[in-house]
Symmetry: C2
Amino acid sequence: MATSALTVRVFSLNCWGIRYLSKQCDQRYAMIGDLLCNGEHDIVLLQEVWSEKDFLGLKNKLTLSHPHSHYFKSGVIGSGLAIFSKHRIHDTFLYRYSLNGYPYMAHHGDWFGGKAVGMAIIQIGSLTANVYVTHLHAEYCRENDSYLPHRVVQAWELQQFIRHTSAGADAVIVGGDLNMHPQDLGTRLLRSYTGLRDAYLETAQFDGCEDGITLIADNPFINKKELIPFEKGIRIDYILFKGSSRAELHCDLMSTTKGSAPEKPFPYSDHEALTAELRLKPLASPETRHDKNHQDSRGVAELVDLLTEARTEVNVGLYCAERMRYTAQRTGIMGLALLILELAIATVPWLALGAEQPFPLTSFYLLAALCCVILVTTFLLYIFYTMELKSLQGAEDQMNLAAGGLLERLRGVSVDHTPQRKPPEGEEPRAFDTEE
Amino acid sequence: MATSALTVRVFSLNCWGIRYLSKQCDQRYAMIGDLLCNGEHDIVLLQEVWSEKDFLGLKNKLTLSHPHSHYFKSGVIGSGLAIFSKHRIHDTFLYRYSLNGYPYMAHHGDWFGGKAVGMAIIQIGSLTANVYVTHLHAEYCRENDSYLPHRVVQAWELQQFIRHTSAGADAVIVGGDLNMHPQDLGTRLLRSYTGLRDAYLETAQFDGCEDGITLIADNPFINKKELIPFEKGIRIDYILFKGSSRAELHCDLMSTTKGSAPEKPFPYSDHEALTAELRLKPLASPETRHDKNHQDSRGVAELVDLLTEARTEVNVGLYCAERMRYTAQRTGIMGLALLILELAIATVPWLALGAEQPFPLTSFYLLAALCCVILVTTFLLYIFYTMELKSLQGAEDQMNLAAGGLLERLRGVSVDHTPQRKPPEGEEPRAFDTEE
């Protein structure tokens, strides 16, 4: 087995590719294609490639530089996720997040995008890398972020998916638009649980915007007001990585574009593009499975706090979803009552043949139609909120399971290799996964 | 590390637990609880536990015998999947199938059930077992099975999920109602791709219904007509398993119930219950990663045929979904045209003030309401079919990727360790996953 280090250059960009809505869409795709086709990047992770035509255009342009590619399909519009690679893609898999906004918030559009995380298994030299590309639900208002529970559950599912699918991988690389700041709950959940390292924080050398921001106020496609109170901008796009017992992974260089493209009138996108130069070094003695319990007791305590925070957020989501479902239910019942009342009033003169109708025909039909619309809408909403509740409850259950296991570890109880032991307080016992 | 073999008894049952609809539901749950609480089974995999109350009832009853449990939530009603274990459950994860019938087929109900595969990581002695419980879309008419493409995609996603999440497991155990016969495409896809072994076929000793059937004609809850032309019954419930480089797994005994419960007036469910006694033996030298390329060239050729068949099925699904979407679109346009026409006819006399309305007010409103209903319904259907198309296309893309890789292997091209190689015919090159 070769033990010389390999360099893997990873590129990530949210392309903002909404046809007919995003500004200079075609020109920007042409610029992105020009940037990539020189073949400097081994792995290209793109988000918001909403149109398959644009993906195929890029694929055509990158045939020589990146012969391997995959476009992940999901939702109504698509997941927007695409991957190009110099190295062979052996296999792909897509996980659709169980929660992703609301279909009736059509102006936000996230629900229609079918947000997901795409995985590609890529062979790099003698090593297998699991590469993930993802895009989480957008944050439209930081102060009053009604999508926060959804995004937290997405981050939770993302860490689950990465943890459970990467056990056989020699290296793990994640890129994408997380729509979360570095210290946000979801980012911490993801990093703590998976042990993934942030290329911006770990890099030996950095060349890019101050504080590594990827959504900068100077970008001409951005409404500066939306960034308030973050004057300069925010960091919401990431490249994360980790090695394994079989390979070491280091970040030698990280760079971002700085709000403009060389010799072009406008930048590549409303987000900045990220490039990380990772050094992948196969290890000679791959037997020792490190990482098995990568958290010490302080780490475990931090995870417990993190989980408490996450469960609080999920509970907020549960409360909102329950309230919305209750409102839908009540409105539906009122609509039904109104319809029955109207029909009753109309039936009386109909039974007493010849008697005059109590209210004009136009009003009668309009009211009946309104009642029917209310009934159908509230029925659909009721079903939707029930599904949302189930997903939130499912996430909460899994978090409880994880938290229980962590607490036991903190209490000093050896949780490993103790089958058939009774649970401590008659409760369902839980343990933190040690599958890493 | 202990190298003595452990016995793991796995139980699987589709409980048919539709409250108020399934016959003798409460009594049957009581019987199932009585059967399980003696603690003979290490791992209990249940399907169709549609009500959480019933799950909690069982959990209460099994506190002592099976202190660890998890209920998987999904869809409108829930996934119906539950797991009870004597051994600690370390972690759980749920994958919801991207395709699962149609919401308007409410009498079939599958869509509302949110079919999924649940995973639990269970510590058995010094070994880690990944245990999966699943329930696939039902087959309502074998001759003209409109859900076949959905079930094939579910089987495809099931094998993907198992393959990608089980790399770190010492043993893999799968139980559930696959709603597929042993020789059906989906069953073959699942078994060939994952290398999972069928407990019924592998067992040293079998005690149960003839041919291992699990849906038997003699069951009083079953409409015999639905089983035609399979006079005696069909085998659609399975326990599958495989070991790893770190542990061997064998099936010593497999048994099923035989259409009745001892000393009870009716059986546990409309399905038979399965029990497999698996012998789990840790291996002394876990270094050699076997299974890496477990298919020889004949196996690869078989996989290619299998994939061809699967892609044909997915294509049938694509064709149907496209046709349905086209119909929805056309009907919607006709509804819109009718509405516009009606409004135009009504506007003319309204503009020429005082002129008489050309048709009675009642008809006018009824027609307008009908048009609106058509518009809303077709719009929703259009969105739904678009999502179905995306999921089918996604599955097809992944199958193409897999097939391409297999074909290259058949051609004798070494696909391993050849990064940065150009694709053979200007096409996107593909490879079969070797992550096992």
